[in-house]
């Protein structure tokens, strides 16, 4: 595995004091690797910006340490950190031209005006706005301002680039374009990107690894596929994509494996390793698209059965709400035209198929 660039160790941050005290971060630890596109994902107010600002040096941690390549950063002001930021509002200097914006950081580092100018041209080339150097920011569209903000932050070749919801001000189409663009820039420059978003699709599409945060804590860190397919917490399963949750008891599934016995009596074998220490009631999650439907007559004895309560046709797929009785509902999404019979009517009795590896036991 490649080298750790940023390392947060039990970082805590509180704002205010007394009755107004807000805990924005609660002992967060994370390692971010070189040349990685790392995303912090979570709902509003979970502390993403705070963590980013701590790394950038705009706030000071209340507890814990932040290291850059093993050296403690805590007391360094932002202008002494080889880390640059793309601000959510872009924060382009309105009184300077595009090119002056890009050379700003270089000149502050003492690079000669001529060299800085050359580098700025390179950067403009990189973000494909070569002809825009002499404009002022107010003469650029939102998407162009975004690219200039990127070029400005990349120009000094920082070790880490911080991006706080940089795409949130763009409309959907531009957003998609910029996602591709950002990914390209990250690969071309080889700079570590730490990206903040509350948009799960964006996170899944762009990241090498994602940290899912909730109320000041990191719940799970992993590659997009891992986060999506093997969520460890109910919050993660719910926040990223759609999930069904079922409650059951952990039982022995034979052959060294465990199984879950649902309240209806059905037993589902698990492929997931679950520690022997865990017993009793657990919640499991399963993605709607990992479930299938068969006619009740075709269902095995061990299979869940229920009644189709709603059918919603989405074109590429169809979503079924299945009433399992005792108020439990299950959502099943089946792809249309995949050959499998996917045509059940409301009120029909059905059996539900699921592959064992789709079932994930969640942490309490």
């Amino acid at each position: 595995m490649s080298e750790v660039v940023i390392s947060a160790r039990s970082v805590g941050k509180t704002f205010g004091s007394g009755a107004d005290k807000v805990t924005a971060l609660d002992s967060v630890s994370v390692d971010i690797f070189q040349n990685e596109f790392f995303t912090m994902l979570g709902p509003s107010g979970c502390g993403k910006t705070t963590l980013l600002r701590l790394i950038g040096g705009f706030e000071q941690a209340t507890s814990g340490q932040i290291l850059l390549e093993g050296k403690e950063l805590n007391d360094l002001p932002p202008f002494k950190r080889p880390i640059n930021t793309v601000f959510q509002s872009y924060a382009l200097f309105p009184h300077l031209t595009v090119k002056q914006n890009i050379t700003f950081g270089l000149e502050m580092q003492g690079i000669s005006r001529k060299d800085a100018g050359g580098r700025a041209d390179e950067m403009l080339e990189l973000v494909r706005l070569a002809e825009y150097g002499d404009r002022v920011p107010s003469q650029l569209s939102g998407g162009q301002q975004q690219r200039i903000a990127l070029a400005r932050a990349l120009a000094p070749a920082p070790k880490v680039l911080l991006l706080d919801e940089p795409l949130s001000a763009l409309d959907l189409k531009l957003r998609k374009e910029m996602q591709v663009e950002l990914k390209r820039l990250q690969t071309e420059t080889g700079i570590t990107f730490v990206f903040v978003t509350h948009d799960q699709e964006e996170a899944l599409a762009m990241s090498d690894r994602i940290a899912v945060m909730q109320s000041g804590e990191i719940l799970q860190i992993g590659a997009p596929r891992e986060i999506y397919e093997a969520p460890t917490h109910r919050f993660v399963a719910d926040f990223i994509g759609d999930s069904n949750f079922l409650v059951g008891d952990l039982v022995d599934g034979g052959a060294g494996k465990r199984a879950v016995k649902l309240s209806g009596g059905q037993v589902i074998a698990l492929t997931q390793e679950v520690s022997d220490q865990r017993t009793g009631e657990v919640t499991v999650s399963v993605r709607p698209e990992r479930l299938g439907l068969v006619a009740e007559s075709d269902a095995g004895a061990d299979q869940l059965t229920g009644t189709v309560s709603t059918v919603i046709y989405f074109g590429t797929d169809t979503t079924y709400q299945i009433d399992l009785g005792n108020e439990a509902l299950l959502t099943v999404r089946m792809q249309n035209g995949s050959g499998a019979k996917a045509d059940f009517a409301e009120g029909e009795r059905v059996g539900i198929t699921m592959s064992p590896d789709a079932i994930r036991v969640l942490a309490d």
């Binding site: 950038g56 040096g57 705009f58 002001p77 932002p78 202008f79 002494k80 880390i83 640059n84 930021t85 601000f87 959510q88 509002s89 924060a91 382009l92 200097f93 309105p94 009184h95 700003f104 950081g105 502050m108 580092q109 002022v136 920011p137 107010s138 400005r152 932050a153 000094p156």
Partner: protein, 264 residues
């Protein structure tokens, strides 16, 4: 007259005539004064012809020129001092709250709340108690006090409208605090500073009551000089000097407002 048709308030008639009366009332004296300053007739009321003579007479009056010079010295000094203090204060007051902020805020606008006459006599008593001789210096000190809020408010307004991320962006791009101030904050703030300075200048130049009480021999400012002339009687020279003061004020304020509207 064109009205904003989507605005239902225009349906109320009678307001137009009142408004016309209002503006006539507001500008009639100013227009009349300026017109009379060019009137050849010494008795002012009847128009007998255009002349610049009264301006020539006024501008060749040494006492008047000395008073004008005093006024400018006072206004420039008070403006410079007040603008510096106000700029620093506005920067200190921007960005987040702090303990005692309300008190500091109140202090900064206190000079706008206290009636002029009260400021005047309190300051006079203070200088007397300290044994400071009344003169240009005391006038400058007193003017600086009431100029601070006039400079402060536009600068503060501009800072409020500035994205705090800009300074952070400068810091992020390796500018230390001083460089961030010089390269980012100051260039963005200058219209506010200039506009505030010009308002201070005008307010100081026009002040009468405070200069009158706090000044002493040798610190006669232009308004005090004009006051003395008016006391003696209405003359075309007074008209000319007054018209000049009016025009200077109006020009300065117009420029100040235009500068304040500069947006990037």
């Amino acid at each position: 007259m064109k009205v904003d048709a989507s605005n239902p308030l225009w349906r109320f008639r009678g307001i137009t005539s009142t408004a016309m009366f209002f503006f006539a009332y507001l500008y009639l004296p100013i227009v009349v004064l300026i017109a009379l300053s060019f009137n050849e007739n010494r008795l002012a009321t009847i128009w007998t012809g255009f002349t610049m003579d009264w301006y020539v007479t006024a501008l060749s009056n040494d006492d008047m020129l000395r008073a004008a010079q005093n006024s400018i010295v006072v206004a420039v000094s008070a403006t410079v001092l007040a603008t510096i203090a106000a700029t620093l204060a506005a920067m200190g007051m921007s960005r987040g709250r702090f303990k005692g902020e309300a008190g500091v805020s109140a202090m900064l606008v206190l000079p706008l709340l206290v009636p002029e006459i009260v400021t005047a006599i309190a300051t006079l008593l203070f200088f007397v108690a300290l044994g400071i001789k009344l003169g240009l210096l005391t006038v400058i000190i007193a003017h600086t006090v009431f100029c601070i809020p006039f400079a402060y408010l536009p600068i503060r307004a501009r800072l409020e409208g500035m994205d705090p991320a800009l300074v952070e962006a400068a810091n992020d791009l390796y500018a230390n605090e001083w460089k961030a101030f010089r390269r980012v904050t100051l260039p963005l703030l200058w219209p506010g500073i200039l506009s505030g300075a010009m308002l201070s200048f005008i307010i100081s130049l026009d002040d009468f009551v405070i200069s009158y009480f706090v000044g002493g021999a040798g610190s006669t400012t232009l308004p005090i000089y004009i006051f003395g002339m008016i006391r003696i009687g209405i003359t075309p020279e007074v008209n000319a000097v007054s018209a000049m003061m009016l025009i200077v004020s109006i020009v300065f304020v117009s420029i100040s407002f235009m500068i304040d509207r500069i947006r990037y």
